[in-house]
């Protein structure tokens, strides 16, 4: 029983991070129809930024959250405004290639700047934990989850209540009508891409505390973001959160499948990617729009 609760906790804690990774990816995809292959690279840049601030100026990783957001938001905004907007109406393959190219560029720049060495952000409180009802919970991961919940909550409020948020949603529903109502689409697109990059940067900061930092670290997170946002429902804040938590919990429980059939070792943790994708498949069959997604015309 302890192990079941522990796995549930592990899954929720891991899922919170995945939700933040997926959130920015989902917004960019859902609102602009850009599958942003540079998303993993933004996560990596956020992690390096955190590392550098920590190593050079002893800035606590949680304090560098807003810095990561602002820096990556600005970079994302400028990229969209002066580069991606040129091809945003082109077929999806064009933006696919462009963002893939950007990803390669960023990864290689990181390789030059920080080399291929593995880096880590190990704070004084790293690994500190408490036990509740037999379940061990690391403080860092708990705070990370709380940060993830706050970030998704703020995003949701901002998108539904603020003027810019409403303009963003209007643009995603009907560009023509939005333009007629005075929405500056190029600006809105840049904000959305900036948000995607900013959220990736924040995710990178959160990840830097538990995962090794290297120029290629974004790749597995990009793939997971892809699954999470399809699982949860494209372009929706709640979708990313629910998708991330479901993915995290499925992965955690998959680990319990650990048996031998003859000499054949069936290891759920070895197959966790396959199991997570199988769950995705089932969800898509039952609810093609994802768990929280709404059918669109």
């Amino acid at each position: 029983m302890h192990l079941v609760l522990q796995d549930l906790a592990n899954g929720i804690l891991a899922g919170g991070i995945l939700a933040v990774v997926a959130l920015g990816f989902s917004l960019v995809w859902g609102i602009m129809n850009i599958i942003n292959l540079a998303h993993g690279a933004f996560v990596m840049l956020g992690a390096y930024l955190t590392y550098q601030l920590f190593a050079s100026f002893h800035v606590d990783p949680f304090l560098s959250l807003p810095i990561s957001f602002v820096v990556l938001f600005t970079a994302g905004y400028l990229l969209q405004r002066y580069l991606i907007n040129w091809v945003v109406r082109a077929p999806i393959l064009t933006t696919f290639l462009l963002t893939f190219g950007l990803s390669l560029l960023f990864v290689n720049i990181a390789l030059i700047v920080w080399t291929g060495d593995q880096r880590g952000v190990t704070t004084a409180y790293a690994g500190a934990n408490f036990t509740l009802a037999g379940v061990t919970i690391p403080w860092v991961k708990l705070y990370t989850l709380l940060a993830a919940l706050v970030i998704t909550g703020v995003m949701h409020l901002w998108l539904t209540r603020s003027k810019t948020g409403r303009a963003i949603r209007a643009t995603s529903m009907d560009i023509g009508a939005a333009q007629l109502s005075g929405v500056r689409v190029a600006h809105i697109y840049s904000i959305v891409y900036g948000l995607g990059a900013g959220l990736a940067g924040v995710a990178g900061t959160l990840i830097s505390m538990s995962y090794a930092i290297n120029p290629n670290m974004g790749e597995p997170f990009l793939i997971k973001a892809f699954v999470v946002c399809v699982l949860g429902g494209l372009g929706s804040v709640q979708g990313a959160l629910v998708g991330g938590l479901v993915y995290g919990i499925v992965e955690a429980f998959a680990t319990q499948i650990d048996l031998y059939i003859g000499t054949q070792h069936i290891s759920g943790s070895g197959l966790q990617d396959a199991i997570a994708l199988a769950v995705l498949l089932i969800v898509l069959i039952v609810r093609p729009t994802g768990i929280m997604g709404k059918a669109t015309a």
Partner: protein, 408 residues
Amino acid sequence: MKLRPTAALGILALCATLAAPSVPVSAAGDTILFGSPVSLTGSLTKEGHLTQEGYELWKNYVNAHGGIKVGGKTYKVDIKYYDDESKNDTSAQLAERLIDQDHVNFLLGPYGSGTSFTVAQIAERKKIPMVEGNGAAEKIFNQGFRYTFGVLSPAKRYLEGILQMTKAQKPPAQTVAITAASDAFSQEVAQGAAAWAAANGMKVVYNNKYPDTATDVSSIISALKQTNPDVILNAGHLQDALLVQKGLKEQNVIARAYGYSVGPDTPDFASSLGKDANDVFGGAQWSDAVKYKGAPGFYHTAPEYAKAIDNAYHHRADYHNAESTAACLAFQYAIQKAGSLDPEKVRDALAKLDVTTFYGIIKFDSRGINLYKPMVVNQIQNGRLTTVWPAFTADGKPKYPAPPWGQR
């Protein structure tokens, strides 16, 4: 804009001309050209760079000391690299390109068992000898390949030394838990450790794997914790070693010894984890404490080699450096012995090679793997890597059992 077919062809031809390699620097001149596809980017970037450093150090030494004598003529050496992005298929394609387009004389291995396995197939098909120092999976050597030689001890030995050592301590370790990445190398390491434990009266209480791309291993650690093992072993690579070590502390898993196949020997492990890296054991192909006296033609001892690495690259010599250099040395001695650059003759000389170097004995069994050099066990003690096993080569005593987290 639409291109007329002729214009398009013209542009293509121009591109082809530009992309074609310049006149190959082959042995037709006075240089022996080696080629290596190596992980300069991708998940094994760090290890790939250490490999390249090992190769470059050898190249610079040999060229600074006149070159290699082959049947009365002296040759300089050069190495052509391509980045295989840590991908198995890419590595094989690049090996083919090195042979067909760059006309290299010989191949030096890529980093890792996966890439070494695919490149070995190319070496076999093209009948170009490859010596590799970074693919320890025996899968590579059980295919009957004639042109691939590995200077390292096989994967199954990586964690044996740690088990031997913990069993010899007081109180002796009796139970072991193993976690392993799903790649061929890590799986062989894990199987080797489990087999050794079972054969020597230790009980394997947990043995499970996770995908190479895992971003979270906390549930594996939770399951492992329940079995309360004396020794916790991880068979993987640097990135997952860091993930596991952080996870063990986060869940307050207490064992007498923690051992890794890859990780503690690379400085990044201690620099990333700080004090939490202390008292961890690592299986290593080599350390700067080993006491071999090498044959003439290169640095004779491990400390001399370590000093040269420090001077050139400003970090402590790592076993990935040493095993990569050893692969070059195998070629150096075999080529001298063969007195020829003929691939077939050099292959035969490699098969018969028996030489002691700063790295240890280089000698291959009939499959091409080096079964003759023992592994060593290192431990991070107060932030510094200390060789603790086997006793005859150790420069310190193992710290066992490990103190609880927070007291390191």
